[in-house]
C-alpha cells in the first residue's frame, strides 16, 4: 500500500488504467475524465507512456473530486489492469479499500487486495469488437464508484461522433455491460462519487492546447515547428486550425529552419511562434541569437523532457531552464515565462505575444511534458481579457523620412516598419550594425547598440507577469517553485493548511528578467524556505543564489523523469517547518 502521511480527501477518487502501449488507453481514460467533468467534478490526468508506438507499458491516471484537484496524487483507489503486468507494477500503489478490475481470462487477481474480475474481452466482443475492452472497464469503474452511467454514455457518444453510429452504440453497450456486471457481482462501492449539479461548465484541457488557444487569441499568423515530444501536440493543434482560424502552419524540415522561418515571418510583422522541446531548442540556438540581434518579436515554446540528448522522450523534467536563459552566443535581452498550470498556459501565451511586440525581442514559454500533455479541468478561459498590443510598429502606409530601424532610444525599442510600408528601407541584420542596419564595427556604435538592446530588460521588468504568492501570510515554511511544479506544490500547500502547518508558496512566473527583489522579500519574510524543482542541479535555486545572494534553507529535487509528488513535498515541508 502507498505509504504517506498526506491527508487525502475522502471525497475524491484516484483511478489508474494500465496496459500495453498501442491500445488506446489514453483515449479511454480521457473519455472517462470528460464524463466526470461534465458531471460537475474536477479532474487531473497523468499519463505515462514509453517512447514506442506499440508494446511497453502505458498508464493513464485520473484524479477526480468535487473540489479542485491541483495535481496527481499517489494512492490508487481503482486500478484497471488490462494485463497482468499492470497488477505487478502498481499493486503497491493501492490505497485503503482499493479495488483492481481485471479480466480473469488474462490476469490473476491481485494478491492481498480486492479483485473485481470482469470478463472484458468477452463483453467487448459481444458489443462488437475486442478493442472495446477499455470501455467495458470504464463502465466497471463507474459501478465501483456508484456513479451514474449517463455522463459516460454522453462522453462516449461525443468521442465517436465522427465515426459510424454503430461504433458509439457498441461502446455504450460495452460500458453498460461492465457497469451491470460489477453492480451484480461486486456491488460494494470503493467510494461513492457524486455528480455536482449546477456546477459551472469547465474545460478539460492539456497545457499545449491552452497555449495554442492563447496564441490563436493573440492573433498568431505563422507557426513553424518540427515535431518533438512533448511539444508536438501544439503543432497538431495549430495545424488543425490553420484554415478555420487563418494561420500559416509549417512543419519545417528541421528546427533550424523553423526558428529562422519564424524570424522571417516576424520581419513581415506577422505574429509568429515556434515550439519544440529542449533538443530542438538546442538546434534553434543560433537563430534564437539572430532574433536577439535582429530585434525580432518572436515567441518560442520550449516544452521540456528529460535529457541529455534524446534522454527520456516521453517523461518530464525541468532541466532546460539555464540552457534557455543563456542560449546563443553574445548577450541580448529575452523574456522567459513559465506557466504553472493550464489556465496560466493560456494567459502567458497571449501575453507572450504582447511582450514580444512591445520589446521586439524573443519571448520563451517554458513548459514540460507534465504540463504540456496532461489534462485538467479548468474554468472557462478568460478570453475577454486578451489584448493585442503590437508595440511600436508600422504595418501599412508610410513611415517618416529618415526612418532608422535601429534608432537608439531611451527604452531600447525602435520603431519597426515592416516591408511593404513605404519608406521602410532598412537592413535587418545578424551583424551588429548602425541605426540604419548597416554592418558597423565602430566601438562607440557597438556600445550604443548593445546597451540599447539591453535596456529593454528594464522595460520588460514593468511588463512581465510578477511572481505569485499563495498560502498563509504567517507561514512557517515557504515553497519556491517554477513551472509545472506549481501544481503539486499547490496540492502540498492545501494539505499543509489542513494539517495546521501554515505555509506559503512563491511561484516564479518570469524567470528572465529574474524578479530578485520579490524573491528576496519572500525569503526574508518567511522563517524557512525551500526550493522545489524537477532537476538535479537546482537550476532555479542557482538563479536565486546568483541574483539574490541568498540560499534557501532546503531544496527538493526530482530528476527521474516523474513530476514532483505532492506527498514528497508535504513531507519535506513539514520537516523544514519543524526546524524553525
Amino acid at each position: 500500500m502507498a505509504e504517506t502521511s498526506a491527508p487525502y480527501s475522502v471525497e475524491e477518487v484516484r483511478i489508474k488504467i494500465g496496459g500495453q502501449a498501442g491500445f488506446g488507453i489514453k483515449a479511454s481514460g480521457q473519455m472517462l475524465a470528460r464524463a466526470f467533468v461534465s458531471a460537475g467534478l474536477n479532474t487531473f490526468d497523468l499519463t505515462e507512456y514509453p517512447s514506442l508506438i506499440r508494446g511497453g507499458h502505458n498508464v493513464f491516471g485520473v484524479r477526480v473530486g468535487p473540489e479542485p484537484v491541483p495535481s496527481q496524487v499517489e494512492p490508487v483507489d481503482v486500478l484497471v489492469a488490462l494485463n497482468q503486468e499492470t497488477i505487478d507494477l502498481h499493486l503497491d500503489e493501492l490505497g485503503d479499500g482499493a479495488a483492481v478490475i481485471f479480466d480473469p481470462s488474462e490476469a490473476e487477481g491481485p494478491a492481498g487486495a480486492r479483485g473485481v474480475p470482469v470478463p472484458l474481452d468477452e463483453f467487448a466482443e459481444t458489443a462488437g469488437a475486442k478493442i472495446m475492452r477499455n470501455t467495458v472497464a470504464l463502465g466497471a469503474v463507474l459501478a465501483l464508484l456508484d456513479f451514474p452511467m449517463e455522463p459516460l454514455e454522453e462522453s462516449v457518444r461525443r468521442q465517436f461522433s465522427h465515426k459510424k453510429p454503430e461504433v458509439a452504440d457498441g461502446n455504450v453497450e460495452a460500458a453498460r455491460a461492465g457497469y451491470e456486471h460489477v453492480r451484480e457481482h461486486s456491488p460494494e462501492p470503493v467510494r461513492r462519487l457524486v455528480p455536482v449539479a449546477g456546477a459551472a461548465p469547465q474545460l478539460l484541457i492539456d497545457g499545449n492546447s491552452a497555449v495554442g488557444l492563447g496564441a490563436l487569441a493573440a492573433g498568431i499568423g505563422f507557426y513553424a515547428a518540427y515535431p518533438m515530444t512533448p511539444a508536438t501536440s501544439l503543432l497538431h493543434f495549430m495545424a488543425a486550425h490553420e484554415r478555420d482560424r487563418g494561420v500559416v502552419v509549417k512543419h519545417a524540415e528541421d528546427e533550424l529552419a523553423a526558428m529562422n522561418m519564424v524570424v522571417g515571418a516576424s520581419f513581415t510583422g506577422t505574429r509568429a511562434m515556434c515550439g519544440t522541446s529542449g533538443g530542438g531548442f538546442a538546434l534553434m540556438t543560433e537563430a534564437f541569437g539572430l532574433a536577439g540581434v535582429a530585434e525580432s518579436a518572436v515567441v518560442v515554446m520550449v516544452s521540456q523532457r528529460p535529457g541529455p540528448a534524446t534522454g527520456l522522450p516521453t517523461w518530464t523534467e525541468q532541466a532546460d531552464l539555464r540552457m534557455v536563459i543563456h542560449a546563443a552566443q553574445g548577450e541580448f535581452p529575452r523574456v522567459i515565462l513559465a506557466p504553472g498550470d493550464h489556465t496560466q498556459c493560456f494567459e502567458f501565451a497571449w501575453r507572450a505575444f504582447d511582450l514580444a511586440d512591445r520589446l521586439q525581442t524573443p519571448v520563451v514559454l517554458m513548459l514540460d511534458n507534465y504540463l504540456s500533455e496532461n489534462r485538467a479541468s479548468v474554468p472557462v478561459l478568460d478570453t475577454g481579457a486578451v489584448t493585442v498590443d503590437r508595440g511600436d510598429i508600422v504595418t501599412a502606409g508610410h513611415v517618416g523620412e529618415g526612418y532608422l530601424r535601429y534608432r537608439v532610444t531611451d527604452d531600447g525599442v525602435s520603431t519597426r516598419a515592416v516591408p511593404g510600408v513605404r519608406g521602410a528601407l532598412q537592413l535587418t541584420n545578424s551583424y551588429d550594425h548602425d541605426e540604419y542596419g548597416f554592418a558597423n564595427e565602430d566601438a562607440a556604435m557597438r556600445d550604443a547598440q548593445e546597451e540599447k538592446r539591453m535596456r529593454k530588460l528594464a522595460l520588460a521588468r514593468g511588463l512581465v507577469p510578477p511572481p505569485l504568492v499563495e498560502g498563509a501570510d504567517d507561514a512557517s515554511v515557504g515553497l519556491i517553485v517554477w513551472g509545472s511544479t506549481t501544481m503539486p506544490a499547490r496540492q502540498a500547500l492545501e494539505w499543509l493548511a489542513m494539517e495546521g502547518v501554515p505555509a506559503r508558496m512563491l511561484q516564479v512566473t518570469t524567470l528572465e528578467p529574474f524578479p530578485a527583489d520579490a524573491v528576496v522579500r519572500f525569503i526574508e519574510g518567511t522563517p524557512r524556505t525551500m526550493v522545489v524543482e524537477g532537476n538535479m542541479t537546482g537550476q532555479l535555486e542557482s538563479l536565486i543564489r546568483e541574483h539574490c545572494l541568498l540560499e534557501p534553507d532546503d531544496s527538493l529535487r526530482r530528476y527521474d523523469g516523474r513530476p514532483l509528488a505532492p506527498e514528497g513535498i508535504l513531507e519535506r515541508a513539514k520537516e523544514v517547518a519543524s526546524r524553525a
Binding site: F222, A258, F267, S377, T387, G420
Partner: protein, 297 residues
C-alpha cells in the same frame, strides 16, 4: 519606379576585391530590378553571410542580412506571410550548398515563390579561401592542403532531381545574360534557382574568368535544347563534375535556363489562409470561442 542609381543611393560603396565577380552580379541585380519596375516597398532581399553577403550594405532596399546558411528559411518565413512581396535571396556557395544544403533541397521541393541567386565562386571567400562544396575535386585549399576528396555539389542536378520548376545558371562574365536570367527567375511563379559562376579573384586561382570564358556555352543557343525536358536538363547538369586539369575542349559548361516548368502550383497558392499579409490577423484579438468549446465538457 526606382532606377539604377536609386538602388545605390545612400548605401555604402562595394568593398569587394577589384575584379571580383560580385560586381557584375550586383549590377545585374540592379538592372533586373529596374527592368522589373519594382518599387522599394514591393520586394525584399535576403542575404547569407560571406563576401556575397557584404552586398547587403551596397543595395538600397528592404533587406535582411541573415545567418550563414540560413537565408532560405528566413526568406521562406517572409514569403509565406506576405504574398505581396517579391522575395529574392542572395547566397554563397558555402551558404546555399554547404551548411544550407538541406534548406536548398527542401525549398526546391516546396516550390515557394521566391528566387535564389547563388554566388558560386567555388570557394569560401570571406573566411579566406577554404574549400567550398562546389570546389573542384582535388583542389588544394587551406583546409584541404592534400586536395579535396569530395566531388562537388551539383546544385542544378539536385534541383532538377527534386522537381524544381526553374533552374538556371549564369556567369558573372556576362551581365546581359545574367540580367535576363534574374528577370526570368524573379518573374517565375515558384522557386527559381539561379546558380551563378562568380569568380573569386583572390582565392580561387583555378576557376577564373578566363577559365569560364573558354568553356561556357549557352543552352538557348544549343540546337534543339528544350528547357521543359527534365532528363535533358539532368544531363546538362552533369557538367558540374569536371576535374582540375580538364581542357576547354573536354569540359564545357552550360549557362542559361536548364529547366522551366510552367503552371505548377506554388506553395503559397496551396495556402488558402494566405489571403494577404498575415500581420492582419493580429489587428485585434481573434475570436477563439468555437475552438475553446471543443474542450468544454
Amino acid at each position: 519606379m526606382p532606377s539604377l542609381k536609386d538602388f545605390e543611393e545612400s548605401v555604402k560603396r562595394p568593398t569587394w576585391c577589384p575584379g571580383c565577380g560580385n560586381y557584375a552580379m550586383w549590377r545585374a541585380l540592379k538592372h533586373a530590378l529596374e527592368r522589373l519596375g519594382l518599387d522599394f516597398h514591393e520586394f525584399v532581399v535576403v542575404w547569407g553571410i560571406g563576401c556575397h553577403g557584404n552586398g547587403a550594405d551596397f543595395l538600397r532596399c528592404q533587406g535582411f542580412h541573415a545567418l550563414h546558411g540560413r537565408s532560405l528559411p528566413v526568406a521562406t518565413g517572409i514569403a509565406l506571410t506576405n504574398p505581396e512581396l517579391k522575395v529574392i535571396v542572395e547566397a554563397g556557395d558555402g551558404d546555399a550548398y554547404g551548411l544550407g544544403l538541406g534548406h536548398f533541397v527542401h525549398s526546391t521541393r516546396r516550390n515557394v515563390d521566391m528566387t535564389l541567386i547563388a554566388h558560386n565562386n567555388q570557394i569560401y571567400g570571406l573566411t579566406t579561401g577554404q574549400v567550398s562544396p562546389t570546389s573542384d575535386h582535388l583542389m588544394k585549399t587551406v583546409s584541404t592542403p592534400s586536395g579535396v576528396l569530395e566531388w562537388p555539389v551539383n546544385p542544378t542536378g539536385l534541383a532538377i532531381a527534386q522537381e524544381a520548376t526553374f533552374v538556371a545558371r549564369g556567369f558573372a562574365g556576362d551581365i546581359e545574360q545574367l540580367t535576363d536570367l534574374y528577370v526570368a527567375a524573379i518573374e517565375h511563379p515558384g522557386f527559381a534557382v539561379v546558380d551563378v559562376f562568380q569568380p573569386c579573384v583572390t582565392w580561387n586561382k583555378v576557376n577564373t574568368f578566363k577559365w569560364f570564358r573558354e568553356r561556357v556555352y549557352k543552352l538557348e543557343e544549343k540546337e534543339g535544347y528544350d528547357p521543359t525536358d527534365r532528363e535533358a536538363a539532368f544531363v546538362e547538369s552533369l557538367s558540374t563534375f569536371h576535374d582540375l586539369v580538364c581542357t576547354p575542349d573536354e569540359c564545357r559548361v552550360p549557362t542559361g535556363v536548364f529547366l522551366r516548368i510552367e503552371g505548377e502550383e506554388t506553395y503559397q497558392e496551396g495556402l488558402e489562409q494566405l489571403d494577404g499579409p498575415m500581420w492582419r490577423k493580429a489587428e485585434a484579438p481573434r475570436d477563439v470561442t468555437a475552438v475553446m468549446d471543443e474542450y468544454l465538457t
